[in-house]
Amino acid sequence: MKKGYFGDFGGQFIPELLMPPLLELEQAMQTILPTEEFQTRFIAMLKENVGRPSAITHCPNLSRDLGLDLWLKREDLNHSGAHKINNTLGQGLLAKMMGKTTLLAETGAGMHGVATAVAAAMLDMKCLVYMGATDVVRQAPNVNRMRLMGAEIVAVESGTKTLKDAINEALRRWLSDQETTHYCFGTAAGPHPFPTLVREFQQVISREARQQFMERNDGRLPDVVVACVGGGSNAIGMFHHFVPDPSVAIVGVEAAGTGEPGCDNSAPLNLGTDGILHGMKTKLLQTPQGQILPSHSIAPGLDYPGVGPEHAHLHATGRATYVTINDAQAINAFKTLSRREGIIPALESSHAVAYAIEHRAELKGKSVLVCLSGRGDKDMAIVDSIL
């Protein structure tokens, strides 16, 4: 297989001027990542700062309601409230050991920006976060959290003023500042080596969850593993160690938007076509002429017109199934999990929970392990405006 590819997907479709920092990063993955110094420090940070291992939680009430056996992998319990920090601490430490002084990040909802700000503060690095101007307004609490931790926020006024434009601007900034700056990419997408690097830091989710589930279930594996997919970092982390288990069905949940025919959505695997954006060949929401379409989801963290290339590959081979959940179904799951189990899920993770609710008939009697990628406090304003 070609370097940096997952089947037909992936690659390094970026300007030549960004190749040197990507090659430098690839080199660092080989020389720094496996060292005892890196591993010791990283494991200590995950334990003492993030609070890993994160729990798995059985949901007795909802299991009874739905007629299945529902378990959650609790990434929402991590410091800063989501899985994002697994990646930012890993990349932050790697960058620090590479001699970089600044962490650069894009963010949509602000969760990756917050997690990068945490990493930068911990590692005594500068932090620069690019965020679409529209998102800066609608995610004000996260903007304040980032600023409090010392991050500089750059509001992006170009294009659709959302995540994809923040990525464009962050790539431009990296191009200029590559000597001192590491681009702490937020999801398992973008040019090689980011999809592999981010998976490396997120695979801890399934490494723990697989072992925890088996410990609680007499050595049995779950029947179904579920995660929401935007760029796809929590999902690739949740899927990775289950991919070799043929008995485990793997389900990724994309955001269908409002669910009306032809509505803006964030479901490139289900509704998109092959194309090239942000350094990778993958599935994209685009016009027949190759112009990228605006995406939509009520969950800001899923609101992206592309998807990580490894998901495109798992989709193409059929190893994983990708379904869609719409805004209303996600809101229903948000409320249901809160009411029945006392856990307020992020709207992103609510899409994964909604899969278990909406597909309960076909899941009857099965054990279902859902990645609860983040907590829902950040979404109260969005949900309040709807309820």
Binding site: Q12, P15, R172, G290, Q291
Partner: protein, 253 residues
Amino acid sequence: MNPMQSKIETAKAKGKVALIPFLPAGFPSRDQFWKELEQLDAAGAAVIEIGMPFSDPVADGPVVEKASLKCLEDGIDLAWIFEGLKARKGTFNAALLLMGYLNPVYQYGLDAFGADCAAAGVSGLIIADLPHEESGFVKQAMAPHGVALVPLIGLNTSLDRMRLYAKDAQGFCYFVSVLGTTGQRESLPERIREKLTEARSIFTIPIALGFGIKHPDQLANFAGLMDAAVFGSALITHIATGHTSTQFMEPWQ
């Protein structure tokens, strides 16, 4: 020899720096675009670089991005570009070069794109998001149609990577003079000179200097180290403020 190279060498033989103006297709308007091209051609452009608009132009600065997005809103696409060029085939003295990003070209179909380039008199292609590692399939598809993939190199391109590009490059080599996007601030001339000297030792085809070129005075520093100058943002700003391409080209003669 690729027409882009022969046009640049013709200018060189006259002791001039070859001029490569860049305009996004459909800028400043559908009709006016073709008039600007005629003016640029009449004013002695060696190669005219035409931008293919893309929604996410990561290698471009704000001036080019804004102009390109406006053209997209006006409905400019590859079919419109090819149709207009085919209707004017043979009327340009300059060689024609298309510049853009891979996705629109990929969706058009590489073979169809190459064939339409040939039919429209286009002899070169710059894809900003296509480094050497990924370029094989594009080169292969363009070769039968006589369309050269122009390499982009810059201040951070190592000698080894220059060699990768030099191996089968045709037309000219585009040297990006800043570590940044189009139209950005200038870099130190010493650093550019040093890197251009390296590029000279490796490329046998002409070298064009671009990104942040606003005025011919900037080129005095690089005499003998480059053969052509590309200017885009400065030309766009000039036209957007109500001036003509002819006026812009005057000081460069």
